[in-house]
């Protein structure tokens, strides 16, 4: 088991290198970060040239990549513009935990990301938990009461839910629960932000501001995932061992919850395992609509400004998370299904 984990992690290292190289090259397509540095007009030519030099953007791409990866304290930079590099670099590089400074605000990229990560995780973990609970409940119940009114109703609803894009759901929810409820004199939900600044960052405020984003983000997934749970439950419920369990006189509740569900959840675990790394990425569109201060919104903002240290930081974080959670998913299989062995 330990060997397996070590082997998988060792495999991950060249993978991540490759990912970082590809991403770094793709960053070049985001456009010129210097071009967005003017206050209201494009920056002056002299400033463009100086900033390019000071920030090392005039270097060949492989040097830029190396500086990003291992830092530039081994080389000298021409800060004064006399054509002779004289100032030793200060960056330590990603391998030494330095993701560089944002080109726009000059703050460390890692700081900008970690500042928003808790907000994103709070939102996204809540969403994931809501998704898991409701899709299990709905899926199991629909499978158990196959072709009942509830099953048909939920089936119909899930197709509707699955075919509406999230931004539309978000705006509809906002319109209904905030604008209309306010007009009707009912208690209404806040539209944007994480808390009302005039009240402050209290748990109650945050919970209130989370209702709409969580709802928008979970509806589609619940609609989809409950279908998976339903179909794999149906498959399992028809198997011989379930009949045996029933024949033994076990209570239906135990049969379903303990014997059927455990085996039916395997495909579901795969889905969730694939989802989890992207929790770190946040919900790009939804966070922007609800002005949720998370990594997704940061990503959108900085994409427009081609702030590549921040973008690379977010993307690499997701890359690492994918590798780790894939590993965890594989290990979870062996717990859920004793037939799967990891060696």
């Amino acid at each position: 088991m330990l060997n397996y984990i070590i082997r998988r992690l060792a495999q991950a290292i060249p993978q991540l290198f490759l990912i970082s190289i590809v991403l770094f090259m793709l960053m070049q397509a985001f456009g010129d970060p210097i071009a967005s540095l003017g206050v209201r007009t494009p920056p002056r030519p002299a400033d463009r040239e100086r900033l390019r030099r000071q920030l090392g953007l005039d270097q060949p791409l492989y040097i830029q990549y190396l500086s990003w990866l291992i830092g530039n304290d081994w080389m000298k930079i021409d800060m004064d513009g006399d054509g002779v590099p004289e100032t030793p670099g200060k960056r330590l590089g990603v391998l030494r935990g330095d993701f560089g400074n944002s080109l726009i605000s000059k703050r460390p990229a890692l700081e900008l990301i970690t500042e928003r990560l808790p907000n994103t995780l709070l939102l996204m973990i809540t969403v994931e938990v809501v998704i898991i609970i409701f899709s299990l409940m709905i899926g199991v119940y629909s499978a158990f009461k196959q072709y009942s009114f509830f099953d048909n109703f939920v089936t119909g609803l899930s197709f509707v839910g699955y075919s509406i894009p999230i931004p539309l759901i978000a705006l509809l929810l906002m319109y209904f629960f905030s604008v209309n409820f306010k007009n009707w004199g009912l208690p209404y939900l806040p539209t944007v932000g994480m808390f009302d600044p005039q009240v402050g960052r209290t748990p109650g405020q945050i919970a209130l501001h989370m209702i709409l984003p969580v709802l928008s983000l979970s509806i589609i997934s619940i609609a989809g995932y409950s279908r998976y749970v339903r179909s794999s439950m149906l498959e399992v419920l028809g198997l011989d061992y379930i009949r045996t369990a029933r024949a033994k006189g076990l209570r239906e509740r135990i049969v379903v919850m303990k014997h059927a569900l455990r085996n039916a959840t395997l495909p579901f675990v795969t889905l969730i395992g694939l989802d989890i790394p992207f929790l770190f990425a946040g919900a790009v569109v939804t966070e922007s609509i609800f002005a949720w201060p998370g990594t997704g919104r940061l990503f959108v903002e900085r994409t427009a400004q081609s702030d590549f240290p921040v973008l690379m930081g977010i993307l690499m974080m997701i890359g690492v998370a994918v590798v780790i959670f894939q590993l965890i998913t594989d290990i979870t299989y062996s717990f859920l299904d004793p037939r799967i062995r990891i060696e």
Binding site: R48, S105, E115, P118, R297
Partner: protein
């Protein structure tokens, strides 16, 4: 088991809520609210009982109420050294006053300077090379330290320090030979050559507190990562920075020690997107909002809680014409074709139909930068007959009967580019129709954010993938300087990838006038030079104005005494009051 699970889940959710609430999402700036206790005791009472502000100084505690402002773009930093965003720079009028600010009519208003230097009062030397500025001796930083000329010297040094990746060194590296402080309240600037734009540019961004930032610079070797950039708890202005929560809000509290104590207690800036901003304006939840659209004017004026306000800030929407023989359509080389293009465009109709008649046609690039446009200049009228005549004369005729003129086998189809803004797309479509009347074809292209990318990055304009490019631009308002767009030496190309002249236009006569105005320190003579520049650019059809593009603001009716200006919009924030 199920029960246990759900219990666990609810625990986790609760715990994470609490964690986040207790600062899990570390705020961008952990700024202890600076209340400035020492100066409160000393400044109004002890140190300065003399001439200034006697009535106001007696009751500095009168400030009350909050003005709520929405920003549709999140400032990335507050430091004037690094600010690349207009939304960052306009906040400085709250917390970082400088030598002077500008009123709505573009007149300078002394702030830290005692008066505006002129040749008459001896502030500016006859040769225009030495500027002597006298500073008020009663201005203190919000922590009680006096503001001295040394702070300005330090600020200059920081702009020029090679280890600081400042956003722009203009005009310091171009014109400043030295900045000296012969005593605490006298600042002497020596220019390397006469600098016509000294008034709007000298320390326009603000002044840095040397006593706070020099230790940081000495320790880190740079100010790039100074905490002050994002949490400037020491400032000099009617308000003091207290809080900035990333992506959420920013708060400035009244600074009773400022020479003109503010009437309001608090400035609250909320970050919101366009849709949320519009809702907030109409609901009366915000007092000041900007980056609006012309189409919002009626809704705002009819809301009863806010007014739509326009304020010129130098910007004019216009066409940049491509002159580069390598990349431009051959017809663009002919001045009569260029004239025909303008004559065939009913700009007045565009202003009336698409902008609700709320602005007017811009005659020159300096239409919104008074007084640099000649009021007597006659712009081209809408005259399709004359356009037809000029085009016929130039040899562009529709020989193959496809509705578009051609010459030597080349169709007269011009690439007309703009960014993705809906208004511009509408204008493009309307102009396409107008041009069709005279047989000019238009290929409409819209680019995304790479529109302004440089030559090396293949930006559509610097690489010449256009014949006419439309956007809104300004000189260095309130200064008219914008020469790098047209100087021969700035023509962009493989050997000058950072050149600012993306049109490939080169005219020795215009160059000479631009050079002359840059060093002309007599305001009247400089204005005359701009009349000549405007005339050449008009006659040669170098830049075509579509409309004056002022800043669009919404100001709530409950907020009083707001007099937004173009250069320093919040210059009189200390006079704002709220009525409930």
């Amino acid at each position: 088991m199920k029960r246990n699970l759900s219990f666990l889940v609810s625990l986790i959710v609760l715990a994470s809520l609490v964690l986040a609430a207790c600062g899990g999402g570390a705020p961008a700036t952990e700024a202890p609210p600076v209340v400035t206790e020492p100066p409160e005791a000393t400044e109004p009472a002890a140190t300065e009982p003399s001439t200034t502000e006697e009535p106001a100084a007696t009751e500095p505690a009168a400030s009350a109420g909050t003005a709520v402002i929405t920003f549709v773009q999140q400032p990335t930093t507050l430091s004037p050294l690094y600010a690349t965003q207009w939304f960052s720079t306009i906040t400085t009028q709250f917390w970082l006053k400088t030598l002077w600010s500008f009123d709505p009519d573009n007149n300078p208003v002394p702030e830290i300077a005692t008066e505006i230097p002129t040749v008459e009062n001896g502030g500016l030397s006859e040769d225009g090379l030495t500027l002597t500025i006298n500073l008020r001796d009663d201005v203190t930083w919000s922590d009680g330290e006096p503001v001295t000329a040394n702070d300005f010297v330090f600020t200059y040094d920081m702009y020029m320090a090679d280890s600081n990746t400042v956003a722009s060194r203009y005009p310091y590296e171009d014109y400043f030979a030295s900045v000296e402080a012969p005593d605490d309240h006298t600042l002497v600037i020596t220019f390397s050559e006469p600098f016509a734009g000294w008034l709007p540019y000298t320390f326009a961004g603000g002044v840095l507190p040397e006593h706070v930032l020099r230790p940081v610079f000495e320790a880190d070797g740079t100010l790039d990562n100074a905490e002050w950039n994002n949490a400037p708890t020491v400032g000099v202005g009617p308000f003091v920075f207290t809080e900035w929560e990333a992506d959420s809000h920013m708060i400035f509290e009244a600074n009773p020690n400022w020479i003109n104590p503010p009437q309001l207690q608090q400035i609250f800036i909320r970050m919101a997107d366009d849709a949320a901003q519009e809702v907030a304006i109409l609901a009366g939840d915000t007092d000041i909002a900007t980056f609006l659209d012309w189409s919002q004017a009626d809704a705002i004026n009819n809301s009863g809680v806010a007014q739509f306000v326009t304020q010129p800030s130098g910007y004019d929407e216009g066409w940049y014409l491509n002159f580069d023989p390598e990349t431009a359509h051959p017809a663009m080389q002919d001045v009569n074709v260029r004239r025909a293009i303008v004559l065939a465009t009913d700009r007045e109709k565009i202003v009336q139909d698409l902008l609700g008649g709320l602005t007017e046609v811009a005659k020159t690039f300096w239409a919104s930068t008074p007084p640099f446009e000649d009021p007597n200049l006659e712009t081209y009228p809408y005259d399709p007959d004359e356009a037809n005549r000029l085009l016929d004369e130039a040899g562009w005729v529709d020989s193959n009967g496809d509705g578009t003129r051609d010459k030597d086998g080349t169709e007269l189809v011009l690439r007309y580019i703009a960014n993705q803004r809906q208004l511009r797309k509408d204008v493009q479509a309307v102009v396409q129709q107008m041009w069709a009347q005279v047989g000019i074809g238009a290929e409409l292209v819209n680019y995304g954010d790479d529109f302004f990318n440089g030559y090396a990055d293949g930006g559509p304009q610097p690489t010449g993938q256009y014949d006419i490019a439309e956007y809104s631009n300004a000189g260095a308002y309130p200064d008219p300087e914008a020469s790098f767009n047209w100087l021969c030496s700035e023509v962009v190309g493989p050997d000058n990838p950072e050149g600012g002249n993306w049109q490939g236009y080169c005219n020795e006569e215009l160059d000479a006038l631009f050079d002359q105005q840059a060093t002309e320190t007599d305001p009247e003579a400089r204005t005359q030079l701009y009349y000549q520049i405007g005339k050449i650019m008009h006659d040669d059809v170098v830049w075509v104005g579509l409309w004056k593009d002022p800043d669009l603001w919404s100001v709530s009716t409950r907020l009083q005494n707001v007099r937004l200006s173009g250069a320093t919009p919040f210059w009189n924030a200390q006079e704002w009051t709220v009525s409930e």
